[in-house]
């Protein structure tokens, strides 16, 4: 289980979030929703062990990281068992999209195994036409698919995704989300920040609503139909009006 306990984070003395408790079960999908600027991406970066919170702890299976992290103590995050795909994607510009997927995985897998897996992902995500282009020759939607494929090739136990379908068309979103749902069978725990409430309703095991730096409400996907707090109700009505 990937778990954050009493996580507190501030940036330049300004609190971003406070006492956050969240968990991602192996084979489960946790969806984080909430208004912009509420600290969702920072929370994801903390869960990915890329930021050092001021308090609380993060447990990745039996490995526990307590904060504040003691100065001088070795920090060995379990990457890529725990990996993330960010909104800005961070594809390496000097490598083709295919190389972006293959380069990190070369040290873990044999060429023939790797090639088979890449071809399966290329087919699943419709990447055949542009896979040998460089990142700057691909659209944002194409790069989103490649970034997700790169993370999946690493065989993660926990996959953290930040708005990775924002530039995809409806058909592509459906394909990717159905692929993500299929990962449950492989026991991969998924934590996803998204505005796609439909996905949260149909696929999430747990929905977490974050507002003003704290978890305002969390529960099963039914909280999206029957919100228990006024704040979530407001948020859902705004989303419904916008869409």
């Amino acid at each position: 289980m990937l778990e954050a306990r009493n996580l507190t984070f501030s940036y330049s003395g300004k609190p971003v979030f406070h006492n956050i408790n969240i968990s991602v079960k192996p084979g489960g999908i946790t969806v984080l929703i909430g208004p912009s600027g509420t600290g969702k991406t920072t929370l994801l970066r903390c869960l990915a062990l890329l930021e050092q919170p001021q308090g609380g702890e993060i447990a990745v299976d039996d490995q526990v990281f307590g904060y504040p992290w003691p100065a001088g103590k070795a920090f060995n995050p379990p990457w890529p068992r725990l990996t993330a795909v960010f909104q800005s994607l961070f594809l390496w510009p000097h490598l083709t999209l295919r190389e972006n997927i293959l380069m990190p995985v070369r040290r873990y897998k044999k060429d023939n195994v790797m090639d088979g897996e890449v071809e399966a992902l290329i087919e699943a995500f419709d990447m055949g036409e542009y896979i040998d282009n460089f990142p700057n020759e691909a659209s944002l939607g194409q790069r989103q698919r490649v970034a997700l494929a790169r993370a999946l090739m690493l065989g993660p136990h926990y996959l953290l995704l930040d708005e990775i379908t924002s530039a995809l068309d409806v058909e592509q979103i459906a394909k990717i989300l159905s692929y993500l749902k299929g990962l449950r069978g492989k026991n991969i725990g998924i934590f996803i920040i998204t505005h796609l409430l439909g996905f949260a309703r149909h696929a999430a095991d747990q929905v977490v609503f974050m507002a003003n730096g704290e978890i305002a409400e969390q529960g099963g996907p039914d909280i999206l139909r029957n919100p228990q707090t006024e704040r979530l109700g407001q948020f859902l009505s705004v989303i419904a009006a916008a869409s």
Partner: protein
């Protein structure tokens, strides 16, 4: 007397001058690349000590004209320390220092400005520090630095002309000496220009090849 006649009659003198120029360049380029790259990397990793030192020295060497530094090291400095140093070594030292701090600052700046997100992506993909440096940072930095480095090295080749003013027998001084004998400035300096073209042509071809091979427009759509 045509340019060709001058080249034929004085080819030995020109070649000896060119040899000195190329020897100077070899020292300046080697020192600049080896020590400059090292200094730049150290400066980026230790911004408060080596970084400031590199910036300050680079500013000093770019603000003070190379000729002034060269003259200072050749005349007053040697008088103060009561030593006589071969002008070739003085010129090599001066121009190498200029190149080292020029390259150092170029590299330091590129390393400091390196987009951290590419390193973060490497980390979450499980890459170790060595892989991140060799497979992500170095290839991207190389592509970024290549054009600036080549321009700087061509600039250093041109700066070797200053060495003639402290009586280093490089190609410009040889040309001046021949001109003082036969007084054919147009032909002689045309011949000199041809030598520089001949030296710069392979550098430019190499630059064009490396640019085509390694650098692309990385901006995203």
């Amino acid at each position: 007397m045509s340019v060709l006649d001058i080249l034929i009659n004085y080819h030995m003198a020109f070649l000896s001058g060119l040899k000195v120029t190329l020897e100077l360049c070899l020292v300046i380029w080697s020192c600049g690349i080896i020590f400059g790259v090292t200094l730049g990397c150290v400066g980026a990793n230790y911004p408060h000590s080596w970084g400031r030192f590199t910036r300050a020295m680079s500013f000093g060497f770019s603000a003070i004209p190379t000729l002034v530094i060269l003259f200072w090291l050749h005349y007053p400095a040697q008088a103060v320390f009561n030593v006589v140093i071969d002008p070739f070594y003085t010129a090599s030292l001066t121009l190498s220092l200029v190149n080292i701090f020029g390259v150092g600052e170029l590299v330091r700046q590129a390393v400091v400005d390196f987009p951290a997100q590419y390193i973060v992506a490497g980390r979450v993909c499980g890459l170790g520090t060595r892989d991140i440096v060799t497979k992500i940072q170095l290839p991207i930095l190389f592509r970024q630095l290549l054009p600036g480095l080549l321009v700087l090295q061509v600039g250093m080749l041109h700066a070797t002309l200053f060495a003639s003013l402290i009586s280093v027998e490089e190609i410009f001084r040889v040309s001046q000496r021949i001109n003082s004998t036969i007084y054919r400035p147009v032909e002689i300096y045309t011949a000199l220009a041809m030598f520089f073209l001949a030296v710069c042509l392979p550098i430019n071809l190499l630059a064009a090849y490396l640019k085509k091979r390694y650098t692309r427009d990385l901006s995203e759509r």
